[in-house]
Amino acid sequence: MDWLEFFRGPMFQIALLVFILGMVYRFLRIVLMGWKKDYSPPRGSAAAGVVKTYVKGLGFLPFLPPKFPGTRHRPLTYIAGGMFHLGLFVVIFLSTPHMEAWRSVLGFGWPTLPTPFIDGFAAMSMIGMIILLSNRIVSPVGRMLTGLGEWLNWIVVFLPLLSGWVLYHHLFGMPYQTIFAIHMFTVDWLLIWIPFSRISHFMTYFITRTMHGAKFGRLGVEP
């Protein structure tokens, strides 16, 4: 067995297992610990609040920062965050090789985007990440909130994007097998890392957003 086979075979399976078990643990911990019910008389619909918060939070805010004027001084943080997340989502789910990887795990596939588009989204995602990192270095608030964990998270997410990019463009004249193995290694490491880090917010986000929408919807305030 060579490195590539190892990283896309047993190592990938172990990583996937750690990822799934870790995320299930995180999810169950929140659900089983439970939360207090809000007993105050409702002024509006919690369900409507949840719908609104997703429309705003997923579709609107990341790309149109002026909607909530909390971002007037650094709209770039918002826009870069939107670029990074959208780019990453498209690359992970809508590129042909990744869909094939999903098919091998899930057993079914879906239509994908042409490669040049994927290439653009990957670039957008990486540029977004670089802007976000610069913000962490340049702005005093960013510096204060950035610790070792944030650096590691950034690196662990950036490396699969970068290695995928190098792989696709055949950069640096590296043998295809080698760079593919590196890409798979970074992906495995990302999967293992996620449940232990704040990157797990991809799941917790849906819990806190729902809570947020329900709370403010119930209060009769636009979430």
Binding site: F68, Y78, V141, T146, T204, T208, V221
Partner: protein
């Protein structure tokens, strides 16, 4: 440090799935800073909202995460006196719990509730700043954080009756509404109370004040003392039950509306044995039922704007009511600040900040976004429905030398009542 352990213990006892999710999801992006008037007014990164919950975050991280456990093997932790005093000042003096950050957070983290929980822990560990702790003790002993005893209360009502010629019924049973106001209004804005009485009379409302449930302010909400908070609400609700009223009407106070509704439903369950109404809802009810009419020319030629209070509008949902009222009394000249409604900049005085002398300097800085907002529309008057906001606006406009009138919305309504002679001014 003993208090330190108590603090962590409190947070762990109150740790639930909600708290874990809120802390897990934070990506440390710092967008909340941009939403905070204390950060914006000072430019100081240490006032970033997510940092104001540091003791809470630390307690959960050290005790409920794998890394925290790993770290505790090498580092026994503990906090320096400097750190603790920093936690106290960040939680109490640089935050009005205005919840603006909660709405700005891309993850939907409920920062306002987290900061409130942080304060509750600090209160349980005996770390509440003296100014607030004293006010809570005073409210417990005298019935008012400003020390308005029952005798003083009754004397003051007598004075108002004579001075303003208004009817202020006290302890009348079986009426429709019990009105509870704040001692800030009684001492500082008695005009508001006279105005409230005039509106009640004009609408023909059957109402009363209570000598036992006479205070709507709840300083324990500010300090985070949950036991006293419930006790203060209980005094009010028990008066309502004894008098047999249909509803409690709360006058111009921000946090009372949220506190009374929340605690009362915990005490009695839903539906509540009485309605809890804010004066804004009362006025709109009177208007809709045709019981009062307002003159559209009452403030002719005056540019009037409305300041949304964090607890009434952003956290209370009473967003359209004041606009409905002001569009009637100043149809041509009502102007909005930008941003407004739930995105309105906080005045910087609420949440107990105004009551803490330690925060005097910084609360004027937190008023800066407000100054900017006002300068853009240069209104003649700013109207609010919260007496704390009103005090902060009075202080702030003086500090920044702004020529602007600050009014309570009940006074505005009373001055525009159809039966009244126009006051203009």
């Amino acid at each position: 440090m003993d208090a330190d352990r108590k603090l962590a213990q409190y947070y762990l006892q109150h740790a639930d799935g909600w708290l874990v999710a809120q802390l897990d999801v934070c990506a440390r992006c710092g967008i909340c800073a941009e939403a905070c008037p204390f950060y914006l007014g000072t430019g100081d990164a240490t006032h970033t909202p997510i940092r104001k919950i540091e003791p809470l975050r630390r307690a959960v991280q050290e005790n409920l995460t794998a890394f925290g456990w790993l770290r505790s093997l090498f580092d026994k932790g503990g906090s320096s006196a400097q750190e603790v005093s920093d936690w106290v000042s960040e939680a109490y003096f640089t935050c009005t719990v205005c919840n603006r950050c909660s709405l700005a957070c891309p993850m939907g983290i409920d920062l306002g509730a987290l900061i409130q929980l942080t304060r509750e822990g600090l209160a349980a560990a005996g770390m509440t700043p003296h100014s607030l702790a004293d006010a809570v003790r005073r409210q417990d002993a005298t019935g008012s954080p400003l020390g308005v005893t029952r005798t003083l209360f009754e004397n003051r009502l007598d004075w108002l009756r004579q001075e303003e010629g208004v009817d202020l019924p006290l302890d009348v049973p079986e009426v429709d509404s019990l009105v509870a106001f704040t001692s800030i209004e009684l001492i500082k804005f008695p005009g508001n109370l006279a105005a409230m009485a005039k509106v009640m009379e004009a609408a023909g409302e059957s109402w009363t004040l209570s000598s036992t449930g006479r205070e709507s302010v709840n300083f324990a909400t500010f300090s985070g003392d949950t036991e006293e908070q419930t006790e203060f609400v209980r005094r009010l609700t028990e008066a309502a039950l004894e008098l047999g009223v249909k509803r409690i009407i709360l006058t111009e106070c921000g946090h009372a509306y949220d506190t009374v509704r929340r605690i009362a439903s915990r005490l009695y369950g839903l539906p509540l044995p009485f309605e809890v109404e804010n004066i804004l809802e009362t006025i709109v009810r009177f208007l809709r039922e045709g019981r009062i009419r307002l003159r559209p020319d009452a403030f002719a030629g005056q540019r009037i704007t409305f300041h949304d209070a964090c607890k009434l509008q952003r956290l209370g949902g009473l967003i359209e009511q004041p606009r409905e009222i002001l569009h009637l009394v100043a149809p041509e000249t009502f102007v909005e600040m930008t941003p407004n409604r739930e995105a309105q900049w906080c005045c910087g005085g609420g949440g107990g900040v105004l009551a803490s002398p330690e925060a005097d300097e910084i609360r004027m800085k937190a008023f800066l976004p407000k100054v900017e907002q006002l300068e853009r529309i240069s209104p003649d008057a700013v109207v609010t429905a919260c007496s704390t906001c009103r005090l902060q606006f009075l202080d702030g406009s003086k500090y920044y030398d702004m020529d602007i009138d600050v009014r309570g919305i009940t006074e505005v309504v009373a001055a525009a009542l159809e039966t009244e002679t126009p006051k203009g001014a």
